[in-house]
Symmetry: C2
Subunit: 108 residues, 2 copies
């Protein structure tokens, strides 16, 4: 797990990139399609795609003039695994009735 969980989370923690990931989750692929759906300048779109690529959440392949982007399922799996290991409550986890370890009588 060369990549920190926070890197992947930071990649997702931006509205435009989150929308892009949502789009790619539906199978949209070439950059121009993404550009039509997400209204940003092409160079800015490239930047955001690069962030997602470097975070391992997305991969790209050239097809003639065009470059297709798709989600990288492995990246997401690794992310969720890292969060689970860090003790973050993921969906489907027990509600965890928050038993406080602190002594409630006279403080630490």
């Amino acid at each position: 797990m060369e990549l920190e969980a926070s890197v992947r989370l930071a990649a997702l923690a931006e509205p435009t990139r989150l929308r892009i990931v949502g789009l790619l989750g539906e199978g949209t692929c070439c950059v121009c399609d993404v550009r039509d759906a997400v209204d940003v300048a092409p160079n800015l779109l490239s930047y955001h795609l690069r962030v997602l690529r470097e975070a391992g959440l997305v991969s790209a392949t050239r097809r003639g003039r065009w470059i297709d982007y798709r989600l990288d399922p492995d990246g997401f799996e690794v992310l969720w695994a890292q969060l689970a290991e860090a003790g973050i409550p993921l969906p489907g986890a027990p509600a965890e009735v928050s038993t406080c370890t602190v002594r409630t009588e006279e403080g630490p």
Copy 2:
């Protein structure tokens, strides 16, 4: 859903805060306990806790001199719901064999 998913994600997308959330997931509560586990200056810790609080991931109550922090399960549930709605592949979701909508013959 008054709060954007990106706000909650950004709150998690920082190593120190991710560690704090992990600790609170185990039930650690008062700020001084967190401070012992996460080696940061008290004022900086306050800052990070405030970010988590404003993201709705954590809640606090005063107990005498001390202030106890705990995870807010609702905040996490809302986050996962928002991500699911945005089309982000969550853990337990089907691997989604990435069917590309783009025509593979002659581009867009």
